[in-house]
Symmetry: C2
Subunit: 408 residues, 2 copies
Amino acid sequence: MISLEQAREKVLDRAKPLAPEEVELLFSWRRVLAADIYAGHNVPPVDNSAMDGYAVRSVDLKDAGPDTPVRLKVVGEVAAGSAYTAVLGAGEAVSIMTGSPIPKGADAIVPVEYTNQAENRVSLYLRPHPGDHIRQAGEDLKQGNLILQKGQTIAAAQLGILASLGISRVKVVKRPRIAILATGSELQALGASAQENHIYNSNSYTLTAQALDAGGEPLNLGIAADDIAELEQILAKTQDCQILITSGGVSMGKYDLMQEVLKGLGMELVFWKVAIKPGKPILFGRWDEKLVFGLPGNPVASMVTFEEFIRPTIYKMLGKKQILPDYIEAISTEDIKKKLGRKHLLRVSLTLKEGRFYATTTGQQGSGMLSSMSGADGLMIIPEDSAGINAGEKVTVQLLNKSVVGTR
Amino acid sequence: MISLEQAREKVLDRAKPLAPEEVELLFSWRRVLAADIYAGHNVPPVDNSAMDGYAVRSVDLKDAGPDTPVRLKVVGEVAAGSAYTAVLGAGEAVSIMTGSPIPKGADAIVPVEYTNQAENRVSLYLRPHPGDHIRQAGEDLKQGNLILQKGQTIAAAQLGILASLGISRVKVVKRPRIAILATGSELQALGASAQENHIYNSNSYTLTAQALDAGGEPLNLGIAADDIAELEQILAKTQDCQILITSGGVSMGKYDLMQEVLKGLGMELVFWKVAIKPGKPILFGRWDEKLVFGLPGNPVASMVTFEEFIRPTIYKMLGKKQILPDYIEAISTEDIKKKLGRKHLLRVSLTLKEGRFYATTTGQQGSGMLSSMSGADGLMIIPEDSAGINAGEKVTVQLLNKSVVGTR
């Protein structure tokens, strides 16, 4: 059986970045930039005031102080959106608002709190240094500089940066379309009353949420029974998709038809079975340009194999900079025994105490135990050749999608 | 001036949890549960097989082993979605698929890998223990137990749990409607070519993304000039909102009209100015049932005050369990000087080395510097009475909305 790392390499080798598309700025939120962004102009565009106050020549105020105000003549007033176009002369001041351009000749701003205006004269009680309270042109973003990089995800601050550059349409990477099919004659759809010997389909929901969360565009194909003709018919609907995920039907039983069906449709099998627990029976192949993941039907195995194989695939298709999960070092709070041969991925919660992360398994670890996934911050990784670990030993923990670890 | 903590308490005292609404299961993703969820039935509903193989009476196989197979009579086959209804007798086995109900009389499953069937006889090369590979009814979710709690956010695993309980419609807390208005005659909208003495409106975009991210429903009111009649007219459109955010117009200048306008419309002012940097001129009040936040116009001050005051407000309205941000201890990598009087919130990136977080400021900290926000993992907090810190000193860092800290 191949290892997790070998299998993931085979998957990622076959995942190609998708084409760009242009969207309205607001719709670029949480998308991935498809091109580097350079500043087309300075931000701020011109030297401007950081405070409400008076633009002055600092040389005029070299004797000013709390008890020794200096009086200047107010020769103009600059409201937001306008400018004082003359050159400030000796003994002159201009009343100015935050964000307004600095008049020529002025080299400092005295905040309004340190002034007192009467008619067209202002008394200033502060000796400013040249440059005080002046925001320089290009101080935040300099014209011509690389500001945001291809592969970056656009969060609130990046959205604001794009807006401040006047960019109203953004090139982002297309989202992979991801078909999701739950298989198994024991599955029933929500809404109907419970049938005997059936269980509700939950994997379609977890996989849809995981696909959305990773930045994909899910296409829910519902439930198919263990029936070749039915499976083939449904799978024919996936032509526009870059990824096909099935859950169930990949083990060794008589009704595990997925491999046969997919091969019959023309899928080239790349691997079947990986030395991990949960998730061993996962199959992966390529069907035309589509990447096909046959996930085990157990709810936790389905979620975990999505995180190990499909999230990195989506990230690669999106052109993200970081494709693989984050790993941290933690200390196990428990003794854990395992058989040799497979890499175990145990759901754990993390706590941070005195600079160390401590990992504790979240309840029973059976691959049907969805409840254990709900409280998990990460997956504790116990290697293939390990027979287990003792409480207090160091372990590696894979973080599950950006949870803030150890801080609650 | 009141402190951040005093101000936040005044805000949160006035924020009330919103009413519930019922949504389709899939649309409950990332929403907050409005009621506790109890298991209406066991998951799994009945004892069932964890493997493809044979249901047996373990007592029949007490002599079975790799070299000493025991042969049993195959009296039935249970496909997914069906059941074997007779009682398993001595010397009998039933072929069974993963997920299928365990026949009465059987107490273990032998996986298919350890068997060899010919006609209606199967040789079994393994001695099972009672209970082997049997998933017990209610093993994951026990009927009657509290499964998910009011105030929890529904992520992929929770969605799967709800589905496995057959819940197709979920009571979630209504999302607060949040009106967002950028003010200032110097602002121009995206799309038009750059006007002299103007800057592009970026705060509407960052605030919209922050509101969405926190779980609110933004209503973008665009830009208003510094004009009382125009402001009043636009603010009249916010009747259906629970929160009104304005940016700009709250400082001390002549054109800082927000306070006057809002009071004129009937807002009760709760506070104006908080001892923080950036963000000092923030104003907060109540206008009928609406909470009103007048944020400073500087892009970083606007983002930071959102995080300090508005995100917790939204979380409280949503009934979330954790309302306040997460804080961690870190070590400053730099000397930082400050004036006494205000609490400074510095944008920092975090790295984790040998169990310690190290905090480094992300470039210049001017309140116009949106670029410094884009790389920030958190806000380093330097208290009011501190004149600064030295490199190597411990500091508190507020995490910015669930970034995975220190792991890249």
